[in-house]
């Protein structure tokens, strides 16, 4: 479409010259950002894509689906419309991200063949002339193409067509050449004879870590994230990524973090190159640890946090911090486990239950309105008589959050049944005015 026609269609259209060089550079920068953030093997997929090998890295971001949606949201936040797909192969993920309707999709392992069968041939990363030629012959989808005998097609269009098809379905491997920048601190080791045994890998990991730590020390840095890449003899990569909560230069600790995950590595026919990169480093200066003037310092648990965080995911490791809110479920916030402790706590003058149900559960009650606790209530099919009760503690809605909370009220009671079990129940509404709530009763917590 000529620019004049486009301008006629859209008013105030901004026209810019295309700048492929700047585009490629920007893509490269984006790839480096993804390298820092998501996984050790990242490459630019020009002209408009990034390819990331997320094997063994997705659990750190809460699973594949969450990682994808998080990724797309993050791009959206910085003004980039993005689509993402995860699949067994580069080819299928490439096609899925560009030609499927969903903005994010995680294609199940082994399902890529049937999923891409309905996509147009243009999804195969072929030369436009081949695509055009195929369309002339009456092929529209990848499925049409896959069902044809190969030889005549190869004779007419060359070996490229069969190769791309096999790459997308996963019959042949397609290694990703990971992006690296000169300022990254990297050490590598090549082996004359490929190695495969876990013990050998562990031994060389330790040697590489020692080398890396020396380099880091020269620059006064500590690693926040290290990537161990295994270059296999069949020209593909395997990777281990380990993150730390604070900058680390301790050989033993880094080795431990990496060797913990060796069993996730499939050495295949052997590993010929191992490279270790500090993909994220921060300044680390020496600090005085022990002084006789101050009292005995608390033991450093950052090593433990790193080990657990790499095993089960950073976001599953947290501390609770107080939030200034009277609504119980909003009064806690999860923070990173090593956030400095300011000593804040919750106001302690109101009783709080040991267990707080995720969703308040509706209960059947008999109660006098407006301000009496129930005489009895039925929860999960069991009727309990209330022997003692305390309350109400009135919690008002937070009008600055939502309009609907402008007049909302909850009246909390602590009640004790015959056996001594104590529960935290509330009535939604103040017992007099219908607009303050439904006046139904809920059980919200269990006291210890």
């Amino acid at each position: 479409m000529p620019a004049t026609k486009a301008q006629a269609l859209v008013t105030d259209l901004v026209v810019m010259d295309s700048d492929p060089v700047a585009d490629a550079e920007a893509l490269e920068r984006l790839a480096l950002w993804a390298l820092q953030r998501y996984a050790p093997i990242v490459a630019a997929d020009p002209p408009d894509g990034l390819v990331i090998d997320t094997t063994g890295a997705d659990h750190l971001h809460g699973g594949e689906e969450l990682m994808l949606s998080g990724m797309v949201n993050r791009f959206h936040g910085s003004g980039i419309a993005a689509r993402a797909a995860i699949a067994d192969t580069w080819g299928a993920a490439h096609a899925g991200a560009r030609f499927l309707a969903q903005p994010t999709i995680a294609i199940a392992p082994g399902a890529q063949g049937e999923l891409i069968a309905n996509l147009p041939i243009a999804a195969l990363r072929l030369d436009p002339s081949i695509v055009h030629g195929l369309r002339v012959l009456g092929f529209n989808t990848i499925g049409d193409l896959a069902r044809q005998p190969r030889a005549p097609l190869a004779l007419r269009f060359g070996p490229e067509l069969g190769r791309r098809l096999d790459q997308a379905i996963g019959r042949i491997a397609e290694p990703i050449d990971p992006i690296r920048t000169p300022e990254l601190i990297e050490v590598r080791r090549s082996f004359g004879e490929p190695i495969a045994a876990a013990e050998t890998i562990a031994r060389y990991t330790a040697k590489l870590v020692a080398k890396l730590c020396r380099l880091l020390e020269e620059k006064g840095l500590g690693a926040r994230r290290v990537d161990l890449l295994f270059h296999r003899v069949d020209n593909s990569y395997q990777a281990i990524r380990a993150g730390t909560a604070t900058p680390v230069r301790d050989i033993k600790r880094l080795t431990r973090l990496l060797t913990d995950r060796i069993e996730t590595i499939d050495p295949g026919f052997g590993i010929e190159i191992m490279s270790l990169t500090a993909s994220h480093a921060e300044p680390l200066t020496a600090t005085q640890v022990i002084s006789s003037l101050v009292e005995e310092p608390e033991a450093d648990v950052s090593g433990l946090i790193d080990i657990l965080g790499n095993r089960i995911g950073q976001r599953r490791l947290f501390r609770f911090a107080p939030v200034a809110s009277d609504v119980p479920e909003r009064s806690i916030a999860r923070i990173a486990p090593l956030t400095p402790d300011g000593g804040e706590t919750w106001p302690g003058h109101w009783p709080r239950p040991t267990r707080l149900l995720l969703h308040p559960e509706p209960i059947e009650t008999m109660a006098l309105l407006p301000d009496h606790p129930p005489v009895s209530f039925t929860w999960r099919g069991v009727r309990r008589r209330v022997r003692r009760a305390d309350g109400p503690e009135r919690v008002f809605g937070e009008w600055w959050k939502r309009d609907a909370e402008l007049v909302a009220v909850r009246d909390y009671f602590q009640v004790e049944d015959d056996a001594g079990a104590r529960y935290w129940i509330f009535r939604s509404g103040d017992g007099e005015h219908g607009e303050t709530g439904s006046h139904r009763w809920f059980l919200h917590g269990i006291f210890g």
């Binding site: 433990l304 107080p322 009640v415």
Partner: protein, 253 residues
């Protein structure tokens, strides 16, 4: 209970047995409850450091584990160092732990996906040695797993606590199975202390010491932890019944 024999030969023999069992040295350090009645029943006069302890709730508490969790929070509040609290179900309410003296800055929570991962996290925490207490909420605790935890705790001197918490009441019979833990407690709720005015008084528990290595089982009626994590005997029990009090006065006078 017969009085222990104060004999040089016997005490030497005891020491030798303890050395053989590997419970000497660090294993002898304890965290007292600060309640003479309870500490008297525990070997060493308190909850052993560097050991695994099991706590379960009685009745409904076997499912919600609320009282058991608060009991452990009280122990953790009186210990030194950070606390690792491993859960699979995220229903623990931190403000309640803070009211038992366990400030939010001291507790690191681990939300494990399943019990296998939780056991691994607990073991890692116990091995580390820099923590005061490692708490894990578990339904199943096989012998092998408990043995691993016990050994890890013994090496580092950290208290390990397994809060046993089941999905269904019927599964709670699992608590009878043998494990390698040093002590086993059951905490059940009792009607709270009566107040002269309408309201709910301080919570009362029946704490049963079901199993105790090198000690005897016992049960105590206690009041829930205060703001410093200390449990206490109810005052009416400490001073005995009024008649007894009067008799004591007469005897003293």
């Amino acid at each position: 209970m017969p009085r222990p024999v104060d004999n040089a030969v016997v005490s030497k023999l005891r020491e030798r047995i303890q050395r053989l069992e590997g419970t000497s040295g660090r294993g002898r350090q304890v965290l007292p409850f600060g309640v003479t009645e309870i500490d008297r029943r525990l070997p060493g006069g308190g909850l052993a450091l560097g050991a695994l302890h099991e706590v379960a709730g009685g009745g409904n508490g076997a499912i919600d584990g609320a009282a058991a969790a608060l009991f452990c929070a009280g122990i953790a509040a009186r210990s030194k160092g950070k606390v690792l609290w491993c859960v699979t179900r995220p229903d623990l309410f931190a403000p309640a732990l803070a009211q038992a003296g366990l400030s939010p800055g001291r507790v690191i929570y681990v939300e494990a996906g399943d019990e296998k991962a939780l056991l691994a996290c607990m073991e890692e925490g116990l091995r580390h040695g820099g923590l005061g207490v490692v708490v894990g909420e578990l339904a199943r605790l096989p012998m092998t797993a408990s043995r691993r935890l016990q050994l890890a705790a013994k090496r580092s001197g950290t208290i390990g606590i397994a809060i046993r918490r089941w999905r269904r009441q019927a599964e709670a019979s699992d608590f009878g199975q043998p494990t390698a833990s040093t002590t086993r407690w059951r905490v059940s709720v009792l009607p709270s202390a009566p107040l002269p005015v309408p309201g709910v008084g301080r919570a009362r528990w029946l704490v049963e010491l079901i199993r105790c290595r090198a000690g005897e089982s016992a049960d105590f009626e206690v009041e829930a932890p205060d703001a410093k994590g200390r449990i206490a005997l109810p005052s009416d029990l400490v001073h005995g019944s009024p008649e007894e009090e009067a008799r004591r006065h007469r005897a003293a006078g």
